[in-house]
């Protein structure tokens, strides 16, 4: 067809050009759209992906997250999970912040007490002593106090030995020597703990009615417990004693409960529970020890006449007037003052407010 007219030839060229342009447009559009189809596929395939994930990867992820399986082994310490991650956290918290910071509670407490005593000195009874005494703590109350006090001290010493012995005592006693002491400490701590807990519980029940906070306590705290110029009034328990009571009831209660969780491992508590219990027990327990330093100081060297009260049960009337004036007033009004036996037999010594045997 080499003889084709120029006219027809031009038409064929036109058609060819049009075809080329269109196919170019198509290719360009296709090139732009085709990749987008991927999204369509993904959107469609995602429904299936929910069950088509790699089961292996999932198994090991679950294992790393502490998921358990089935084991035919049996025994009190057999666990069915392959990896527990809490242990490493517990290790780092216990050996790090807890062991590093908590001893400072005790050190700061001792420093404050020492500083206070150096500056302020002993809180003395202002009035001259007349020798008249009255009952403040009944025998059962003193037994309760000294029972929890002595067991508390044993628990504090043994507990601190278990937490800090490795750092402090092993260099002094050697490994074998400390192991003997640690074994004994563990035994004492585990057996005395529950008995102490029972004592704390009885104490809370017996004394809670004297420890309900009221407005007088606010005033007592505002006057810093009478350490300044002003006299601070108080009933049978002053604001400070009430604060100590509620610390024992709440924080001490937490120490006792976490202690029981650790002491009796056979009640289905898992390692996570025991790790947490151990941290709370250590931190709050040592805070308790730190505050007990303050309590011991105030009850002995810090306040003239206070120790006598818990040791013999009787306090001097001047001490009562100074530290618990509202209580003394109430006793007088209700005629409930009890004198020691030596002051009751020959006859009335006081202003006649009490008769022997009245209670």
């Amino acid at each position: 067809m080499t003889t084709a007219s120029p006219h027809t030839n031009g038409r064929a060229q036109n058609a060819h050009r049009r075809a080329m342009i269109w196919s170019l447009v198509l290719i360009l559009a296709g090139a732009m759209i085709a990749p987008l189809s991927g999204y369509v596929y993904v959107a469609y395939a995602q429904d299936e992906a929910a069950w088509e994930t790699n089961p292996r990867a999932e198994t090991w992820r679950d294992v790393r997250e502490g998921e358990g399986g089935y084991t035919s082994a049996s025994g009190p310490y057999v666990t069915n999970n392959l990896i527990q991650n809490g242990g490493e956290n517990w290790r780092n918290l216990r050996n790090g912040p807890v062991a590093g910071i908590v001893p400072w509670f005790m050190a700061i407490s001792l420093l404050l007490i020492g500083g206070f005593h150096a500056i302020h000195g002993r809180n003395r009874i202002d009035q001259p002593l007349s020798g008249k005494k009255l009952l403040r703590w009944r025998p059962w109350e003193r037994v309760l106090h000294w029972f929890t006090a002595i067991t508390f001290i044993i628990l504090a010493i043994t507990g601190l030995s278990l937490l800090f012995g490795r750092a402090v005592l092993i260099p002094l006693m050697g490994h074998a020597g400390f192991a003997v002491w640690a074994d004994f400490s563990k035994l004492l701590h585990n057996f005395i703990g529950p008995v102490f807990t029972a004592g704390v519980l009885v104490m809370i029940i017996a004394w809670v009615r004297y420890n309900i906070p009221d407005k007088v306590d606010l005033d007592w705290f505002r006057k810093a417990g009478g350490m300044g110029k002003q006299h601070a009034s108080a009933g049978r328990m002053n604001g400070g004693e009430k604060a100590w009571f509620w610390f024992i009831a709440i924080a001490g209660g937490a120490v006792c409960i976490t202690g029981l969780v650790l002491d009796f491992p056979g009640f289905g508590q898992d390692r996570g529970a025991m790790q947490l219990a151990n941290l709370i027990h250590a931190v709050v327990g040592i805070a308790w020890v730190a505050l007990a330093f303050g309590h011991i100081y105030i009850g002995t060297a810090g306040t003239e006449g206070a120790f006598e009260g818990m040791a013999t049960g009787y306090v001097s009337e001047e001490w009562a007037a100074e530290h618990h004036d509202l209580w003394l007033e109430e006793l007088r009004k209700e005629n409930r003052i009890e004198r020691p036996p030596s002051q009751t037999s020959p006859g009335p010594i006081t202003g006649g407010a009490t008769r022997p045997g009245s209670s």
Binding site: A73, Y77, E88
Partner: protein, 196 residues
């Protein structure tokens, strides 16, 4: 110096518990104490996997870090052993161990824990090698006799590998390449740190 490691090939373990039985027999482990156990994941479901696990003899062992009497020591083979004469049975190592390895016989009232017992890699304890005293407290000392742990030797499918970590890894990698799967050095990262 060899660095001893355990590796359980989960594609091979069939939960036959031969390792557990071998361990109990070799070491006369008391009732209720399990130095090694087999855990089956997704038991009875598709993709079920079994793993035999005991003390992994960790590099930076958490048990040793928390022990209040500091009774753990690491041997030149990288084995984490402990001294039962020092142990007070406080249970802290059990709280800390990622693999649930430490076990305790219940010895007295109120489920007080006895002295901790765990896998020794069949390497006994601090007593003189293969004495009665060592056997009574820690079980066999096969390592001193030039043998490997009984569990791995007895494994019916050779899933459980024990020995120098590099050799173990070599054997395992060869297997993985042959079956063209993905390697899964189960628990190694937890026990021996990153980069293994």
């Amino acid at each position: 110096m060899a660095r001893m490691k355990f590796l359980c090939d989960v594609e091979r373990c069939i939960e036959c518990n031969a390792c557990v039985t071998a361990c109990k027999n070799e070491n006369e482990v008391p009732w209720g104490v399990n130095r090694r156990r087999v855990i089956t994941l997704d038991d009875g479901e598709p993709g079920e996997k079994s793993v035999s696990v005991a003390c992994m003899h960790c590099t930076d062992a958490p048990c040793a870090a928390v022990c209040p009497v500091d009774c753990f020591y690491t041997t030149t083979d990288g084995l984490v052993l402990h001294d039962k004469d020092l142990c007070i049975g406080c249970g802290y190592c059990f709280y800390a161990c990622p693999f649930g390895a430490p076990q305790f016989p219940e010895e007295s009232a109120f489920s007080q824990r006895g002295k901790m017992d765990k896998c020794t890699f069949c390497a006994g304890g601090p007593e003189d090698d293969n004495t009665d005293a060592e056997y009574e407290k820690y079980g066999a000392n096969r390592i001193a006799e030039g043998k490997l742990p009984a569990c791995a030797e007895m494994c019916s499918t050779k899933a459980l590998l024990a020995g120098d970590g590099e050799l173990v890894a070599d054997i395992y990698l060869k297997r993985v390449m042959q079956r063209s799967g993905r390697p899964d050095t189960w628990g190694w990262q937890k026990a021996y740190g990153a980069g293994v």
